[in-house]
């Protein structure tokens, strides 16, 4: 009997330890979440941000070869170290004006699950941590289409940053072509 009590005790202690361990992990998670780094880009003259985890590199806009008879936001394909990669202009998707590209314009190469694609940005501002707990709902002036791919907005240093829902954006049917034969 005492033996059984003993094992129960040990079990309780182990349970407690496990609890503490998980709590510790969760705290670490939260802290990390708050300090997450974001890449900020200019689209249609406004600042947008998304998690750096999606971006694999930022390149100058190379020669883009237009694909015949596909939707306009598929701007063209380019050579990414031997892989033919599509460059997409997500501004129409967000209801933004397609301002002309300049020498400052860049392509942010992002990894979607089934493919790698290049997002055209008027400018890449940089990488910075953003306080995710300060995120607020996006202004109501945005239309539904815009809000679909926007998680919210942030005021940082007097600047308005729109948070992109990159996961959702990369699943938008508008950015793929699949003409069944």
């Amino acid at each position: 009997m005492t033996k059984k009590n003993g094992t129960d005790e040990i079990r309780a202690i182990l349970e407690e330890m496990r609890e503490e361990y998980w709590q510790g992990l969760a705290e670490v998670e939260e802290v990390r979440e708050e300090e997450q780094e974001f890449i900020t880009v200019t689209l249609g003259g406004e600042t947008f941000a998304f998690e750096t985890g999606y971006a694999s590199e930022v390149i100058r806009v190379p020669k883009l070869v237009k694909i015949p008879r596909v939707q306009e936001l598929l701007t063209g394909v380019f050579n990414l170290r031997g892989e033919i990669t599509a460059a997409i202009d997500i501004r129409p998707l967000l209801g933004l004006p397609q301002l002309p590209l300049t020498p400052l314009s860049r392509i942010v190469v992002v990894k979607a699950a089934p493919f790698v694609t290049g997002i055209i940005a008027e400018k890449v501002e940089g990488v910075r941590p953003l306080p995710m707990n300060a995120i607020e709902p996006a202004v109501t002036s945005l239309d539904e289409k815009q809000r679909e791919y926007i998680r919210g907005q942030l005021h940082v240093d007097g600047m308005l940053i729109m948070m992109l829902d990159m996961a959702k954006l990369l699943q938008a049917p508008d950015i793929v072509v699949n003409n069944h034969v």
């Binding site: 070869v65 015949p68 008879r69 598929l74 170290r81 031997g82 033919i84 599509a86 793929v176 034969v181």
Partner: protein, 683 residues
């Protein structure tokens, strides 16, 4: 129990390997029953399967492995002979294990009743219902090193980049040469440096090229990686049908791109099934015919014309053109006269036509037919072609001609609207420069005349939806690439043609799948991509009637306008485009239909003043169309002109009987002839 999972996946892998050698070895054993070395090896396979399965707790597999091992042991001790029945039993054992492994690894239920199976195994025969819903394992022999396809592709990509880098070196060297050439006073050291560098670049070029070739070769696999599984299939299938068939494969060492191999496998399987099902006769029939009781099916692969030719030949009953004709006529696909006028060779080809090879067509009577159109179509997609030869009572031979690889192709580079594009050379007939007067002007449509035949002319930029090149001066020459597909031609106006060369083919990836007009892309010497056009799509788009409009830009005036409406019915794009162009040039309003059925659909919604129809088309013939038109109130008296390549008096009589007003033979078909005839009816 993460450990068990780990061991399980190891076992599945090991198990599959043992099964492969069992399945392959058993077939060899059947041919060489005395091979004790082989026998012992097979016994070991069964033994290992039994042991490992027990270890990971898969009792069912272990039990079957055990039975198989026992049976091998009896053979070894001479207590049992190696005959069909024993081999069959063992193969079924291996099959059973293979299915169990698949089921377990996919967390599925047991696919059949194992105790019942064991009982039947002990009795020496497995009734099919026990292992019902039998699925064909398709073992793939593998004597090569396994590697990750992704790594392979990335290796090839990087080497491609290296080639581009090499090209930059070469052009830099040229620049250096130019710099030094003008001035002889440069230091001799610099000259020496230039020379050394030239040699280095040359060597680099050589190495890179070799490396690239090697890397491409890594994508190649021998044909036997797919044909090894066929032997088993033929064997099982012939048993099911109670036929005796000897199956041989030659040329299986020929290497092809793995992507092509995967694509061609179902086609060969399909043809083989047809051979067994319908080609090879039953034992009785063969004896009556005085043939060897054992039928043969041979696959022979040969390198030919820069590609591979895979010939599948059986010595069965062959395809009887008379029966094909009869069935076609019975099905209402051809008239008696049409069928009679066709050559035997053409008749056999009918079985590849769409509509001819529907479900229940010619299965039993004449031999083949099911799904051959699908095979043909898929083959064309791989830039291959299918030819059929046959002699009644002797043989049927299906030849699949394929390129060796899709990762490299010969292509013509062109410039269109300032963009580089590649056209696969297999589709390019020629390129030429034409003048304005070479274009036969037509309202909305233009054709050019080339060695007596008229070819529709289109602007490639317009087809692709690219902005049109600005102007086209009457005294300027226009560069035209003539493309061919099947028997049809299409002239595409482009900015310029550049060199033709071997290019590396890349896919557009998962984001851009099955993009219209684009087959893939290649990377040019300067590192920029260039699209490789999908020529069949160009033909399809040209058909819809995107116009070149050169005539309009030349300011040529169109012919008289008239309200006369004409329906042109023809399955050939060349013919109907030509007819349409000629008629539109003379002010008629023209609609087109691509088949008799299509025409009937169109006449239901419009009133035409005249119908011009071909005879031989998929579906109903021009004669039948005429008859059906005559049955319609609105079309009882509308003139019908038959335009056909059939020239016999019987054909002409049938046309008249059906109610046609005129008959023009395609051979004698020219602008004047058609126009006079049309004018005779509608003025």
């Amino acid at each position: 129990m993460p450990n068990r999972n780990k061991y399980l996946s190891i076992f599945y892998k090991e198990g599959r390997e043992h099964l492969l050698s069992l399945q392959k070895g058993l077939l060899s054993l059947e041919k060489a029953p005395g091979d004790m070395v082989l026998l012992r090896e097979l016994m070991r396979n069964a033994h290992t399967l039994k042991g490992s399965a027990k270890l990971v707790g898969l009792e069912e597999i272990s039990a079957i492995g055990h039975r198989m091992e026992d049976l091998f042991e009896e053979i070894e001790k001479g207590r049992k002979g190696v005959d069909d029945k024993v081999i069959d039993l063992l193969l079924k054992g291996a099959d059973a294990i293979s299915r169990l492994i698949e089921a377990f690894s996919n967390n599925e239920d047991l696919p059949f009743d194992v105790p019942l199976f064991l009982q039947a195994f002990d009795q020496g025969e497995i009734p099919p219902q026990i292992v019902a819903e039998k699925q064909q394992p398709e073992p793939v022999a593998d004597e090569t090193v396994r590697t990750n396809v992704k790594i392979l592709d990335s290796l090839i990509n990087r080497l491609g980049e290296l080639i581009i880098n090499k090209k930059r070196f070469e052009s830099n060297l040229l620049r250096l040469n130019e710099c030094l050439a003008g001035d002889a006073e440069y230091l001799p050291e610099l000259q020496q440096f230039r020379q050394d560098m030239e040699e280095d670049v040359l060597y680099l070029a050589y190495l890179v090229q070799e490396l690239h070739d090697d890397a491409l070769a890594l994508r190649m696999l021998p044909l036997h990686t797919i044909t090894d599984g066929f032997e088993r299939m033929v064997r099982d299938l012939s048993r099911e049908h109670g036929k005796m068939i000897e199956f041989t494969v030659t040329g299986a060492q020929i290497e092809m791109d793995r992507v092509l191999l995967e694509a061609v496998k179902p086609m060969i399987l399909h043809i083989l099934r047809n051979c067994v099902d319908h080609g090879i006769e039953t034992l009785e029939e063969r004896l009556v015919e005085g043939k060897k009781p054992k039928g043969t099916i041979k696959i022979a692969a040969r390198l030919e014309e820069g590609g591979v030719n895979i010939v599948i030949r059986d010595d069965g009953r062959g395809i009887d053109p008379a029966l094909v004709r009869k069935t076609a006529v019975n099905k209402g696909l051809l008239t008696q006269e049409d069928a009679a006028a066709m050559e035997d060779k053409g008749v056999i080809d009918l079985i590849m036509e769409e509509g001819f090879s529907t479900r229940d067509f010619i299965t039993d009577t004449s031999g083949r037919g099911i799904g051959m159109s699908v095979v043909k179509k898929n083959l064309e997609r791989l830039k291959g072609r299918l030819t059929i030869r046959s002699e009644v009572g002797r043989y049927t031979e299906m030849s699949l001609h394929l390129p060796l690889t899709l990762s490299m192709m010969e292509a013509l580079l062109i410039l269109c609207n300032g963009e580089y594009l590649a056209l696969p050379l297999t589709y390019v007939q020629e390129s030429l420069k034409i003048r304005a007067e070479d274009i036969i002007t037509a309202a909305g449509k233009e054709v050019i005349s080339l060695r007596g035949s008229s070819i529709p002319l289109v602007s490639l930029a317009a087809l692709l939806g690219l902005p049109e090149p600005g102007k086209f001066f009457p005294d300027e020459k226009l560069t035209v690439v003539v493309l061919k597909q099947g028997g049809q031609s299409l002239a595409c106006a482009v900015d310029a043609t550049l060199e033709s060369s071997a290019i590396v083919v890349k896919s557009l990836g998962n984001q851009l799948k099955n993009v219209h007009f684009v087959f893939g892309a290649t990377i040019l010497g300067n590192g920029d991509p260039a699209l490789i056009l999908n020529v069949p799509d160009l033909f399809a788009a040209a058909e819809v009637g995107i116009t070149a409009g050169f005539a309009a830009r030349l300011g040529k005036t169109e012919g008289k306008t008239s309200q006369t409406r004409i329906l042109v019915v023809d399955d050939s794009i060349t013919t109907r485009t030509m007819e349409r162009s000629i008629l539109m040039a003379h002010g008629y309003s023209v609609d087109i239909a691509i088949s008799g059925e299509d025409a009937l659909e169109k006449v239901a919604h419009a009133d035409y003043d005249l119908v011009i129809s071909d005879v031989m088309m998929p579906g109903i013939t021009g004669f039948e169309l005429t008859r059906r038109l005559r049955a319609l109130d609105r079309y009882r008296d509308v003139p019908v002109i038959i335009v056909s390549s059939l020239a016999t008096d019987a054909d002409k009589r049938e046309a008249m009987d059906a109610g046609a007003q005129a008959y023009i033979v395609k051979g004698s078909f020219d602008q004047g002839n058609l126009l006079t005839t049309v004018e005779a009816f509608v003025g």
